[in-house]
Amino acid sequence: MKFHDEAYLCIIVAVNIFASYAAYVAAPQEVTMGDVYRIFYIHTPAAWVCYLALAISLLASIVFLTKRKCAYDKIAEVSAILGLIYGSVALVTGSIWANAAWGAYWNWDPRETTTLILWIAYTGYISLKYSIENIERRALIGAVYNILAFSTIPLSYLSIRLWQTLHPQIITPSQISITAPMIETLFLNLIAASLIYVYLLRVMFNVRSLQDRVDALIYEKGGATRGT
């Protein structure tokens, strides 16, 4: 199936405009936080895409270890980079929320701390990928490290249930603490953010593949490249 970039981009823009309108204008005001709670519609999708991207990175690393195809290693790498970027946005927007809700940007809350650990673990993964010269060793060691680093995701996700925390628990097994229009707006924004992630993943994968082809051609001509 041919992927129609421009049509997909139009759908992304339309869905995101609609989702932003719902988040900033249409969604009802929250009782205790007022309009500041709308950060929730930015912070939660960023955190969701971070988890999604790192989960896809993990799956790609597992498939790479079983099939040993370079394409999966590239997917793992670019998805982890996107996960790290979305994780950074989630941390920063979470800090803005924390300052508005709790009076300080950083409180060493279990969710903040475990997400920071996650962020550091994946910064390590990217550093590792860019520090090993040999392509096969880089892919193999990176895949193993990626699988180990993924343990920080359940730690971050479950931290608000495992320890006492300031972080609000919106959806628990027993109850949902926001109204139906808020849930609809949240899901719309989760879908909008996921669509952007899929697009960025595809473009970043193409960039990474082209970079490898260019490196290979330069190497054939006798020049120095990143991995040999």
Binding site: T93, L200, L210, K221
Partner: protein
């Protein structure tokens, strides 16, 4: 719009736009570089 919401949304959208623009520029520069290298390779063969 509350200043905190404005700040958070600016950070989010600028990050996404910056990655998108950077990737798009990188993609076109790599395509150009690849075309140049392939053309160079063909002229070497001749």
């Amino acid at each position: 719009m509350e200043p905190e919401v404005f700040l958070a949304s600016t950070i989010y959208w600028i990050s996404i736009l910056a990655i998108g623009i950077w990737l798009s520029r990188r993609l076109s520069s790599l395509r150009q570089k690849l075309a140049d290298l392939e053309a160079e390779g063909k002229s070497d063969e001749n």
